[in-house]
Structures are given as structure tokens and as C-alpha cells.
Amino acid sequence: MTDLTSLTIAEARRRLDGREISSVELTEAHIARIEQLDGDVKAFITPMFEQARAMAAEADAAIASGQSDALTGIPVGLKDILCTVDAPTTAASKMLEHYQSPFDATVVAKMRAQKAVFLGKLNTDEFAMGSSTENSAFFTTRNPWDLERVPGGSSGGSSASVAAGMAMGTLGSDTGGSIRQPAGFCGVVGLKPTYGRVSRYGLIAFASSLDQIGPFTRTVEDAALMLGAIAGHDPNDSTSVPVEVPDYRAALTGDISGMRIGIAREFAEVEGMELGVLAACEAAYDQFAALGAELVPVELPHSKYALPTYYITAPAEASANLARFDGVKYGLSVNAGNVLDSYFATRGQGFGPEVKRRIMLGTYALASGYYDAYYVKAQKVRTLIKRDYDEALKDVDVILAPTSPTVAFKIGARSDDPLQMYLADIFTIPANMAGLPGIAIPCGFSEGLPVSLQVLGGAFGEVNVLRAAHAYEQATNWPTMPEMVAGQAGA
């Protein structure tokens, strides 16, 4: 059974289409693996095993009649911030603990149309606000490589389940690094597409100018397959861009000779950068050169301002987006007798500490008297950050950077200090500010824990990003799944 849960999506596709295995077998193997390991890892908020079994049987019938898409019969998981009609969507918040969406997110509908198999809804920091899943209102997910450490976040359930072999691929969302950073901490592949590449319809909104949905997988090829399945224009999301979806898998030629790859000095000089992480990333740069790519120094002088810019822009947008949780239409409702007191009571009890912090921070930045000094200032610095990347990417095809300055930290180590927690995203935020695609891929180990490298590209340059990441992966082949034995976690 272990064999089936360690397959790549591409290999499972071959075996499913060749009738060597069935989707029911593949799905049962994953359900058994989840039942064996998720007591320790705690990646799933809502398992969907009954639905999964029915979907697998339908997928087998489709395959038998010769209808097979990239994800037909493939067991996948969904971050619990993506709306689904057949399971609750909680955003890991007490506010939406019992929320049942009347519609599917577009990415969910697209995967459903391909007859992918949904194993369940995955843990996240509440409303995707966090870097460790410790802000989930329900429980903290553990890192499969070391159960005392965080899996990263916010999409920590999505990354941990893929590393633990509890799903072949998952979807997450990335507002400031929430796909790439947890992928890095769990040693798997995580792809944040270009802003506008994937529809955000049915993704519970955090920061609308930054949010983007993307896949977690154990190989770059699998990420290309999943991106192909979810990308494209959607009339229900006016920020999705009508750009043709290329055959991403065809981009994986393995050949990057002559590719121009930018290396930014600014990233090596960040305070708090672990030496083991820096060493692994620098060895990876050398590997790209050995594969025939040309390493070119690029300058991204405003990099250090990305974090403070983000912590104005994202909370400002969040404070507006989360105004909808008023206890009137859906979600938690605490009736305190009159309209105003009911708002205070509902929102005071429904939101956790980090969500309250960000709503407060955003409200402050947008408030009369502070608006120009904070919000408008951040928007202007965002222009400069984007300009840095636009300039650099005129000269190079992709840019390499560490995914995070550290390996996965211990549960509880940063939960009392918001600013320290925010620093985990220092390398991932610029791509969101500039709307660019980025993939996190394993690039070695430090202190026995995975280290991750980012490959960033120009807008709608996923083809270059995937090709470069794939060539490196083929040359290195770092393990993406730890050895796991059930019952190892403490109480």
C-alpha cells in the first residue's frame, strides 16, 4: 500500500490509464495512510472519505470508457479556504465553523470536472493569516519531518499531507508566501502562479490584490499538471486574465543551457539567515550553472521594504474583506440585543488573535489621519518593488532566492511574537507584491530538515519557472517524503 501513496501524479496517471491500478485502490491506499498517520500530523480539518470513494468509482468508470484528463482518479486535498458544495468550508475559523458553501470555487469545479478525487479539507492558519498553522482555531498541524516543528503556513495542511503521502497533490493559496514557505518547510514542491493566472472565485478572500491559488506536489512535473488543470480565465473573477494556458508539461525539456538566471545579493544579506540554508541555496546556484545556465547578478534594492509594505497592504485589504463577517448573512452570530453590539460580540468572539491583529492594523492604516502616511506610502513603495523585478527580468529569464531564511521552527517558538513570525515570509512576499510566479523546490537539508529554493519568473512566465525548476530537480532528486511511523507524536 505504501507504494501507491508514494507515486507521483504522472506515474499514477500512466498506471490508471494502463489499467494497472484503479482509482478506488489508489484512493483506499490514501485513506488508509491518512487513518494511519493523520492522528500525528493533523493535516485534515474535514476528511471526505465517503465522497472520495464515490468520486473514485466514478473516475474508474470514466477511465474505463476512455475519458481521462490529467487529474482523473487522482486523490487530492483542498486547503479549507476553498469553497466546496459537499463539505464545510471553515477557513480554520470559529467564524465559519459550520459554514456550508452553496457553490464550488472555480478551481474546485475544474478539478471536479476532471474527476479528481477529494480526500478532504486541509488545515490552515485562520483565514490564511500566518506562517505556521498555529493560528488555526482548531489545531496545529505538525511537520512530517519532525513532529515537534511547524509545517509552515498558512497552507500547512496542504504541504504536510503531501510530504506524508496522505495526498498526491493539494491546493493552497499564497498571499505573502503561504504556498511556497510551507512547501519549503515540508520539503515538497509549491507553486504560486502569476496573479491573474488562476481564478480566485470561491477562495475566501484575504488580500485581493495578492491572493493566488496554486498546487503542492512532490515533483515539478506534477505541479505543471495541476497548474494546467486549474489555470485559465474565469468570467466570475474579473482579475483573472484571458491569457492562453500553455502546455506546462511540454515546457519540461530538462534543458536550461543558455538560460539567464538572476542571483540577487540582497537576499544573502538578510538578518536571521541561517548559514545551513544559505549554504544549500548557494550550492543550488552552482548546480544551475553546472547545468549550463548563465548566472547573472541582479539588483533588487527595495527588497528590504517588501515586508513592511506587505504588512500595510495585506491587512488593509483584509480589514475590508473581513467586514463581511457581521453575523447577519452567514457564519457565527452572537446577538447582543442591538445592531452595533452584535457586531462587536460576533467579531470579538469569532475571530482569533492574529485575525484581530491584522484587521486592527489594516483599519489603522486606512483610518483618517494615517491613510497617506501608511496605505498610500505602501502603495508607492510597492511600485518601486515591482519596478526592481520588472527591470531585473528584462535581463534574466528567472531569479533564484531562498524560500525562507530558516528551516522549520519548533511549535510555539514564534507564536508570541508576531513580528518574528512575519519574518518567515521575507523572501516570498516580493513575488506577491509584484504579482509574479514563483515555485519552491527542495534543495537539500540543514539540521536534518528540508531547505527550499525559489525560482521566480516574469508575469505569465510559469513555463520558464517550471523548466528551470524541473532541470534542477532531475539533476538532484532530493527526497520529498520522510520515513514515518504512526504514533510518534506526543499528546
Binding site: 482579475t239 445592531v339 483599519t363 489603522y364
Partner: protein
């Protein structure tokens, strides 16, 4: 710089978030620390720089004004905290006294 407690109370009121006195004090410290970090933006010269609100080049995305079905009322009301005769039931908005 430490925020005044009155400022934190004012912001919480604007945000419609009920906070206990302990939460209010903790928020005061944590917001002050984050705002201190953010203040480094003031050193950036942005005099002739236009603000960026979003990064895609599309503006005023329009669609044809065609009638199409919306979600069924029962389905939408399924999540309603309180309802009556197919409507959301809310507290009185206007003072009746």
C-alpha cells in the same frame, strides 16, 4: 513609539471588533511593535512615484448584461443565523423609542 490606548480603542471601534481590556493592552503593545518596523518605509523617497493598487493591466472588465439564474434562495438561506418568510431576520436598525 507606543500607541495611546485611546487610539487602539478608536481603531477597534472603527473595525467593529469587540476586545477585552486585556486584549486591548496586548494589541497596543503588538501593534506598536509592528508599526515601529513599518516606519522604515518613511526613509524611502517616493516623491514622484505613482501608487500601485493592483498589478494586472486590465481595467473596467465588462460582460454582456444577460439575465442568468442566481443561487436558489433556500440554498443561500441555509447558512442564515436567523430567518423569517424567506428573508434574513436582523435586529432593528432604527431606534423605535
Amino acid at each position: 513609539m507606543r500607541l495611546e490606548l485611546e487610539t487602539v480603542e478608536h481603531i477597534a471601534a472603527l473595525a467593529r471588533v469587540g476586545l477585552t481590556p486585556e486584549e486591548m493592552e496586548r494589541m497596543r503593545d503588538q501593534l506598536s511593535a509592528v508599526l515601529d518596523h513599518i516606519s522604515m518605509l518613511q526613509e524611502v523617497d517616493t516623491d514622484d512615484i505613482a501608487p500601485t493598487a493592483q498589478v494586472i493591466q486590465q481595467h473596467n472588465v465588462m460582460r454582456d448584461d444577460v439575465v442568468r439564474p442566481s443561487l436558489p434562495r433556500e440554498q443561500v438561506l441555509l447558512n442564515a443565523p436567523d430567518q423569517e418568510d424567506g428573508y434574513l431576520r436582523v435586529n432593528a436598525v432604527l431606534d423605535q423609542s
